[in-house]
């Protein structure tokens, strides 16, 4: 089953997703959900906004280009320690090299303020984390499908 899927996917270039998520459980669930549609190595996780920026700017310990390639899209949690999602988003969108990477807000928040603020700051989508694993799989499939097939990415 999975093998066939991988084979089908290999016709198109699989996208690379960078997930900024501090919660271990959520990280595990997101990875598990993406495993259904993407090869494991196509999804990378960082634990907060600081690490995310380091990764994107290729500073240590993310200076290995082979190991840490430039992501096609970023999945960004809003509430994180040290540098939270809002700050990270602001920094990405003010950086000439990084601002073209689509940022998808992926959070438990469904506050109107957060939604409006992040879109204004240049995020591409706002998704509230679903309640069950089934729904989560559905969401990750949709994300993958949309950003790898429906749209053209700057690359």
């Amino acid at each position: 089953m999975f093998v066939i899927q991988y084979m089908l996917m290999s016709f198109e270039k699989p996208i690379h997703i960078l997930v900024a998520e501090d919660d271990e459980d959520d990280k595990l669930l997101i990875l598990k959900a993406f495993e259904r549609t993407l090869p494991k190595e196509k999804v990378t996780c960082v634990e907060d906004g600081e690490a995310l920026l380091k990764y994107l700017k290729r500073t240590a310990p993310y200076d290995d280009v082979e190991k840490y390639p430039k992501p096609d899209i970023i999945l960004l949690d809003l509430n994180m320690p040290r540098k939270d999602g809002r700050e990270a988003l602001a920094e990405i969108k003010s950086n000439e090299d990084l601002r073209s990477i689509p940022v998808i807000i992926f959070t438990t928040s469904n506050s109107v303020d957060d939604i409006q603020a992040t879109y204004k700051m240049g995020s591409s989508s706002f998704i509230t984390k679903p309640g069950s694993f089934e729904e989560l799989v559905k969401v990750t499939e949709e994300i993958e499908n949309y950003w790898s097939k429906t749209v053209k990415l700057p690359g």
């Binding site: 459980d25 669930l29 438990t108 984390k129 309640g131 069950s132 694993f133």
Partner: protein, 479 residues
């Protein structure tokens, strides 16, 4: 009400009345005394005049004696003319005296007697003058007896004049004394009244001063209490808001771990269901079911904490008929399923949020459908009328002078026992087992919260097996 009047005010009233009476009394007394003074000064003047006239009379008598003597000695007619003039004077003075002493019987007698004596004397003089005119002298006319008589007559006149004088003098002294007494009394009376008035005035002033002071202290206390009350209301408001945000945040954060429980249960169920032995499968499904229910409870709690939040933008005039009939359209399938018959009467406009009123009536209708009698078609009616004064009076949170709508939602369902009428509105309270009837028991508590936040009251009436009526009392809206 009069008994509650401040005692100082009553005192001031009494003082004022007493002062007024005293002033009137004093004025009367002064007027009377002034009258007395006038009377006595008149009397003194009168006496003085009597004395004066008596003196003049005596002078004229003396003058006459002198003139008759002169005539007798010289035979000069001029003396005779003076004598006659004196006679006329004496007669006039006597008449005057008589008139002046009309009120005094003793003096009248004396004057009458004086007149007699004078007349006798005049007759003697007249005889002397006659003799003198005839003989040119008085030789042979005057004898010791005549001289004696003349001396005696004069002495008696003098005596009588002195007596009249003495009586008048005595009267003068008495009247003068009275006059002085009265004159002296006047300042005394006025002074006394002044002292009384000033004293009472001072007492009144002091009373008012004291009263004002008490008033000031009282109003200061009232202001203090008002401030305290305001502070406490603010405190209460703050703690209410805090509680609401606490409920919101708590339920929001509670969802986090729950979401993970659900997700990992799903994952476990999906990937390892086959590997679970014994009751493992059952336990996993129990965990999932419990998580689902907890999720429901938390969502309800969130709804409850959000319900009835006063959001000025959402508050407007709501046409209940429109809101309810739109809601019923959305529930058409459930209503048809139960073969329910729902009738709407004339419904008023009320103030609040349309979404929230929709929620209230949706809860009530869905309860009526849910708790319908098995095998009986549900009959639900929503009607409205003006709430009676008596009904309003039963609920302390309502304004007894206000106008209210009384909206009734009645059904023919299973009803409930009377003693549960309040319990059903409490959060998560249920009268039936979860297996018999689904739901968390939040609907009615949310409904109550919404109705109460809009200044109304909701209460239920029912008896087991006889259907139930939910009563909503809401204030009139002026828009």
């Amino acid at each position: 009400m009069k008994n509650e009047q401040n005692p100082s005010i009553r005192q001031v009233k009494i003082y004022s009345i007493v002062t007024l009476i005293l002033i009137i009394l004093g004025s009367g007394l002064s007027y009377w005394t002034a009258g007395r003074i006038e009377f006595y000064s008149d009397a003194v003047m009168h006496t003085t005049e009597v004395l004066q006239r008596t003196d003049q009379l005596y002078s004229s008598i003396l003058e006459r004696e002198t003139n008759i003597r002169g005539y007798g000695l010289t035979g000069n007619e001029e003396f005779l003319t003076n004598y006659h003039q004196s006679n006329v004077d004496a007669e006039l003075l006597l008449s005057q005296l008589q008139a002046l002493t009309m009120d005094n019987a003793q003096q009248q007698n004396n004057i009458e007697e004086l007149r007699g004596l004078i007349n006798t004397r005049v007759r003697t003089f007249d005889a002397t003058i006659e003799y003198m005119k005839e003989h040119r002298n008085l030789i042979g006319f005057i004898d010791p007896i005549k001289i004696n008589n003349a001396l005696g007559g004069y002495r008696m006149i003098k005596q009588l004049v002195l007596e009249i004088n003495e009586i008048e003098n005595k009267l003068f002294k008495e009247r003068n004394q009275s006059l002085f007494n009265n004159i002296n009394a006047l300042p005394f009376i006025v002074g006394l009244i002044s002292i009384f008035s000033i004293t009472i005035g001072l007492v009144t002033f002091f009373s008012i001063y004291q009263y004002n002071k008490t008033q000031q202290v009282a109003s200061k206390e009232i202001t203090l209490y008002q401030e305290k009350l305001r502070d406490q209301i603010k405190l209460l408001d703050d703690s209410n808001k805090e509680l609401e945000s606490f409920a919101y945040v708590a339920s929001h954060d509670l969802q986090e771990p729950l979401r993970k429980i659900t997700a990992f249960s799903d994952l476990l169920n999906e990937q390892y269901k086959d590997k679970l032995e014994g009751d493992g499968d059952l336990y996993l499904s129990r965990i999932t079911a419990a998580a689902v229910r907890m999720r429901l409870l938390i969502t309800d709690l969130l709804d409850y904490s959000r319900a009835g939040r006063i959001d000025d933008e959402k508050i407007k005039s709501v046409k209940l008929y429109k809101v309810i009939s739109e809601m019923l359209e959305d529930f058409e399938i459930a209503i048809k399923d139960k073969s329910a018959n729902i009738t709407l009467g004339k419904l008023p406009k009320v103030r609040g949020s349309g979404t929230e009123y929709r929620q209230v009536f949706q809860n009530l209708i869905s309860n009526s459908l849910k708790f319908s009698k098995p095998g009986v078609n549900p009959e639900i009616s929503i009607t409205s009328e003006k709430a009676s004064q008596e009904l309003i009076g039963k609920h302390s949170s309502l304004n007894i002078n206000g106008n209210y709508h009384w909206i009734k939602v009645s059904d023919n369902g299973i009803g409930f026992e009377k003693q549960h009428a309040d319990r059903i509105f409490s959060i998560f309270q249920r009268l039936h087992g979860k297996k018999e009837y689904e739901g968390t028991g939040i609907g009615l508590s949310i409904s109550r919260k919404i109705i109460e936040k809009n200044g109304g009251v909701i209460f239920a009436e029912s008896s087991l097996g006889k259907g139930s009526t939910f009563n909503i009392i809401l204030p009139f809206t002026n828009t």
